[in-house]
Symmetry: D2
Subunit: 496 residues, 4 copies
Amino acid sequence: MTHLRSEEINDEFDGDTLHEECGVFGILGHQDAATLTALGLHALQHRGQEAAGIVTFDGRQFRTEKRMGLVGDHYTDPAILAKLPGSIAIGHTRYSTTGEVALRNVQPLFAELEVGGIAIAHNGNFTNGLTLRRQIIATGAICQSTSDTEVVLHLIARSRHSSTADRFIDAIRQMEGGYSMLAMTRTKLIAARDPTGIRPLVMGELDGKPIFCSETCALDIIGAKYIRDVENGEVIICEIQPDGSIDIDARKPANAQPERLCLFEYVYFARPDSVVGGRSVYVARKNMGINLAKESPVEGDVVVPVPDGGTPAALGYAQASGIPFEYGIIRNHYVGRTFIEPTQQIRAFGVKLKHSANRAMIEGKRVVLVDDSIVRGTTSLKIVQMIRDAGATEVHVRVASPMIFYPDFYGIDTPNADKLLANQYADVKAMAKYIGADSLEFLTIDGLYRAVGGEDRNPARPQFTDHYFTGDYPTRLLDKNGETAGLKLSVLASNG
Amino acid sequence: MTHLRSEEINDEFDGDTLHEECGVFGILGHQDAATLTALGLHALQHRGQEAAGIVTFDGRQFRTEKRMGLVGDHYTDPAILAKLPGSIAIGHTRYSTTGEVALRNVQPLFAELEVGGIAIAHNGNFTNGLTLRRQIIATGAICQSTSDTEVVLHLIARSRHSSTADRFIDAIRQMEGGYSMLAMTRTKLIAARDPTGIRPLVMGELDGKPIFCSETCALDIIGAKYIRDVENGEVIICEIQPDGSIDIDARKPANAQPERLCLFEYVYFARPDSVVGGRSVYVARKNMGINLAKESPVEGDVVVPVPDGGTPAALGYAQASGIPFEYGIIRNHYVGRTFIEPTQQIRAFGVKLKHSANRAMIEGKRVVLVDDSIVRGTTSLKIVQMIRDAGATEVHVRVASPMIFYPDFYGIDTPNADKLLANQYADVKAMAKYIGADSLEFLTIDGLYRAVGGEDRNPARPQFTDHYFTGDYPTRLLDKNGETAGLKLSVLASNG
Amino acid sequence: MTHLRSEEINDEFDGDTLHEECGVFGILGHQDAATLTALGLHALQHRGQEAAGIVTFDGRQFRTEKRMGLVGDHYTDPAILAKLPGSIAIGHTRYSTTGEVALRNVQPLFAELEVGGIAIAHNGNFTNGLTLRRQIIATGAICQSTSDTEVVLHLIARSRHSSTADRFIDAIRQMEGGYSMLAMTRTKLIAARDPTGIRPLVMGELDGKPIFCSETCALDIIGAKYIRDVENGEVIICEIQPDGSIDIDARKPANAQPERLCLFEYVYFARPDSVVGGRSVYVARKNMGINLAKESPVEGDVVVPVPDGGTPAALGYAQASGIPFEYGIIRNHYVGRTFIEPTQQIRAFGVKLKHSANRAMIEGKRVVLVDDSIVRGTTSLKIVQMIRDAGATEVHVRVASPMIFYPDFYGIDTPNADKLLANQYADVKAMAKYIGADSLEFLTIDGLYRAVGGEDRNPARPQFTDHYFTGDYPTRLLDKNGETAGLKLSVLASNG
Amino acid sequence: MTHLRSEEINDEFDGDTLHEECGVFGILGHQDAATLTALGLHALQHRGQEAAGIVTFDGRQFRTEKRMGLVGDHYTDPAILAKLPGSIAIGHTRYSTTGEVALRNVQPLFAELEVGGIAIAHNGNFTNGLTLRRQIIATGAICQSTSDTEVVLHLIARSRHSSTADRFIDAIRQMEGGYSMLAMTRTKLIAARDPTGIRPLVMGELDGKPIFCSETCALDIIGAKYIRDVENGEVIICEIQPDGSIDIDARKPANAQPERLCLFEYVYFARPDSVVGGRSVYVARKNMGINLAKESPVEGDVVVPVPDGGTPAALGYAQASGIPFEYGIIRNHYVGRTFIEPTQQIRAFGVKLKHSANRAMIEGKRVVLVDDSIVRGTTSLKIVQMIRDAGATEVHVRVASPMIFYPDFYGIDTPNADKLLANQYADVKAMAKYIGADSLEFLTIDGLYRAVGGEDRNPARPQFTDHYFTGDYPTRLLDKNGETAGLKLSVLASNG
């Protein structure tokens, strides 16, 4: 059912990059809440293709539908939407990093509290989730999912506060890491962003009703208006009143820290038409290509993007360098389902199911290949080979982000450190040799900062988080370094 | 997927009886644990056709598979069994009384405790489940299923005892009602039966490994040996030792009450080839027919069973009365799936999809129809009509159990009291008129007791529970009569 | 999807009998034609469980739906019936003997002729199908199915007659073998039976509209009235007139031969509530048991039927012998789908998925097992073993039909002659030893004739066809003995 | 299952173009014949997404698998490929123009002839198919599909020639229209192209084994070498010899006509990386944009392609005009299945499920939108509106092909002539007003000819076929203009 799975992605060119876990969407007070949520999740599909879930409250009880696969495989089917009546909804689309694809882990998760039901969904990751999980299990709680989201539910259930909103804030204040979170009760929609603002979350409005979602493209698809980004550390509580009006209460913690948005949202995750942190993602990517052309020029006949991630940067590189931009690689959009697990026979043919070289633009040419990032280098190797097979005389690889040295703990699925290309070879030359390129260059960290924010990195107080490049983590890493370190939860494996 | 659903059953002849909820099976220390559990559940399929689940422990982690539909629709598929390695397993097959058919309610349920994981499955119902649920939610617990099984898990998690077995006993001692329960940890298989022994549970053995299951037919299918019934109120803890041997520890509470097995197990639920409470179900049913023939003789040409439930009693009736036993109703076994929700057109034809009259045995004859029980009478009405349409000159209905007046609270799905035939008409004559029979008689309560146990009902201390006939409930009914009475839990509706 | 496949059947007790290919149903002039056809096919499901098809004419064009699996898996689904509007319909349910289960072989088949469309469906087999197929291919025809039905279509298309009815008769007169055939055009419903009347076909009527079907049980399910059997060699043409009235034209060939109905319809194929050739199948089967008791009495404690086929004969045997009839074998109706191909593990357990011994009726008893027929004996062997394992002191097998020595060529799927039990052992004693029985007896051919028709077999002119017992084939066998003998058609293998 | 259906396509931007019917692939003598065919069809998926079929010959019998949906949904599944052994294979991928999506119409079609089996598959359409069909039905043939391919099979079956190759040529010589056809027998692979060479067909080679396919991209995916185009009117017969070598026999008719390849292959159908008629499709499309920029310049700030068809032309336009090329429209690749039939609610929102405006590149800008073609203009209208909603100050539409006035009869699905934008408005200005553009210009016919072939159209003897633009049809149109005109075949409607 899943159209793009990590296994397959890893087999081909766009596999050699990082993956994020999730997208969220919520709306309060709109009669088409579930439909709008389905559309919003569809626009956020690039943030997670494994599964999607929606919860609504129909005035009497909470309703939920969860499905493996794409939003468009199931939702907006009238029969499914008919099971999700009500004017409050939150939804979640998911990419699993754990390999366990059970429906019980698909968000939103729900709990029946003494004060009423609550559903929550989040994007990102908690750096103290395992530590907290151990503590609550030790005091008699039952954990039925393997998702950290459930830990938040337990903290809410155990809070001594009386109102659900206060309980939610009580719980969220205990969570460390990088996350954007949505919660809904029978009358409220609550949005929260982590203290450092690592993961994005924006607020919008349609017909006067508040919306929260991971990216602005989810507002655009339904014609909603962008209001502002939820601030780092902020909790916004929207409550529908008996007269139908909506109260909005934004709370910001006293000890606010400076925001450090994840640079990989700009490099790869966010959709190019989204505006993240007030900056066009497309413009940022073109700037990366422009800066890359300035930093690492090369003689060439054509600039060829590695689709789809490298396209805006390639365009920037071409414009800055004056070398013509050409589609040297053609993408086949009709991938289908069984190619996901191709037979050994097909692997043996070395077949490229999703890409092919456009020989007319490659043969006899010096090709400048522009990609957004290189993670392990395994697919760069394949693509360089494909370009050479199509007759290129030279292949120069230009990467629109710095080398990746460190793992992420905020919701990005990173391979083991020793699998990262940058950790396997001494220098760029050795890497170029490995991938078979005549030359290889990466964008500098300052080049990236300027492309996104307009100025160099401030080492004293970096404007973004860039730990995968620099090792400078924006939070402590309790699960990793604390006493729980190394301990694995014994979990129930399920496919039901 | 489900081949026999309550809606469909209710449309035809065998619908006019009661439904039980579940069957359980568990085995410890056998390398084919999951396969044997699947076969055992298949033999218990008559106790619940909606869904089935199995949990194993593979030496490292717990594994579970849950599926809607018949055991034979999914399990014993090598691909599914391959996901259930390990030598400990418990399984559950289910008939839902609530109408909510979500996989999250399919047992066994599992919890990760501080002392390790535990999975539980039960047959029957708790009469204080709702009361306990409210109490634990009030103290910060999260309930994610709508099943009372989850309440037991919470009680285990919160118990102050250190060993899992002691925690289990601590929890089970708080549960009231009629139930048989199985639990498994990484090394233990635990079986428990309610203090009054309402629901059945037997212990068997295969290759020296202990087995617990709802009925002996689940032992027969795998060639296992019957050891004994688990006693009412008893908890049996089997633990595999490091050397592979198995310790068995049977604990009985001090204040044991006399056993009162549910009579409906003999009347309808149990499979005829099972031995329940040491008595052959088939023999008991034949005895019911024999006693019925003695109590309520009638002039007739043929004794015709209402298939399949009435067959053994009809045979007994025929043998005792000397009237020939004949198959006057033929059953179509090929029902398929879409007939489950027949079109209005088909309903309009008054079509009998599963049964037809065998005219050669009916036409011109005085027919004595023998059924196991009558609940609402709606289907008796249809069957009498079908027999008359086939040319019977007289139709006499004989029912091999007493009139049903009261609802059950121990796991049997009963219609509202005012829907019961016995509560709708003043006397047997009026009932006979309603269903269109020339005469109608029910077996007496003493006739039933003698058929099953060999002696009359002891009013001071009834040997069985017979509350649906007499109103004499074997336990208090806290949820029904306590302060929680009338309160409904706000639950999450889901189809995922 | 298929609930009962030959592989599975062969693994268990009811596998050791023969299989017929098909059932047919047609109706003219009724507004619910497709629904009634679906119901009729459901009643004929025992004649073929592999696939079913229906064709209607909606006044403008022909419509068809074909599905693998049970009638009740697909038809009577309102969405499917909605695709089959119109007041003329024919339908077919099929058991495949060839192993190729492609939809393109599912009947009815259809052809667009110059004079308009025609759809045909048949039950039985042609003994000159292959010979004719070779002839028409040699003259430029294209055969796209592997079904002989298509040969009939070609003969109709090539006929020089102008009316469709005349073309149909022209074609059918060229076909040899045992068959019942239905055809429909835009205005006509045509029924035909082979010259010897081997396969059954009856005519009925509902609301004044003509119906043809394989057995009377398909009339009973929709409340239709039985009119008469279609005679051997007869062709009945029903045509709807412009005023809505229906003309019925029955044509009988001059050189009519005496009818010889297939005895296996009485022994096993037909449903017990059907009336075939004017005789109740149930009564015939009971008579077989009665005659068997007279011919082959034995001392015993219980008469136990092998379900389901042996039940009426066992009842007859019990009544005639005075030995009590008891259910010593219990059948599990919930077989499901994956058990169809059980894992090797399950086979290794020697598990009986569909049957179990009712120990209470077997243990310590001398058991008289009554079965309808024995083909290969492999399953008799298993059942005798099961009865012994349950504690029987003696097991006597009584078979309510004669020994089978010869293959069938009229639509019954027979194993190779050397696989037949009767051909493998010198005498009944050797056979008894093979199956492990203390004694084994078969009904005599005269005993069978008397049970069905009331008198002994007339050797000069047998009243039925009994070639599997006697080798006396009612027709010549052109494909088998002619010049095409041994030649196999090179066919396209397909699963689409 | 189908991921892109006409309904959905028509709802969005890329819907406003034409659709072709099919792609074909065949290989002889390679042990991985089916796998290579599956891969080749995958590369040809853009030519038809509705269904795909493959036939092989395994040395003993022909095998076929046909499936609705994408090649990658089913084929290359090892279980399906395992059903297609053998070293000869032909395959077909299909877009249906008729609306009937029955498997029986999915090619390749197969017939068992006296001289052996033959399977055929074709791309394109016959202009005398209906006429021939009537003739063969009149002489006793049965047509079971509604596909013209079956007509070819009948002509082969009826041919008086003895060899299959001669029969094939005999048949193909009777067919008029535009088509590429593949056939296979037990030892031969045959390729044919229509006399005018309207549809493309190329010959390649892998490991010395001959391959035929619609486009060179199907050679590239498996690393096969391009040999040459099959010439118009040519029939190439490849036969495997007893020693494993392959004989190739190319026959060209005496009365060869000049080739006239379909210009729409260059404008829209063929994949950009294919080489058609010896010319790079990508280069041709870029040239169209370059010529368009010269013919119809406009002041603008950005050149924005309408994805995906307009991209190469937009790049050419940008390079020639000096206006920056920018991605002003972002495509969502995760469409899924249920969005194919979006609820009314979603339609009501006017939601663009597959595209969104990249506001950062549009707002405040004069946008030059470049599309490959305009058919009805309905989607151009929507896209112009979307660009305006995103803040464009001006929107100029430039179309890289001429106005379409006439229907196609050679395999392209064209709307009724009166639905074509060019037939609905008097001039370009009126059209521009209808679609809401500030200006609208089309490429001239000479501009298109120069882009593809390097020189102006030769009116005396056009180098390509361009009938949709000019009305100059390359063949007579017998079905349309002959005596069969207006007559519709009464066909069997089926969904099985």
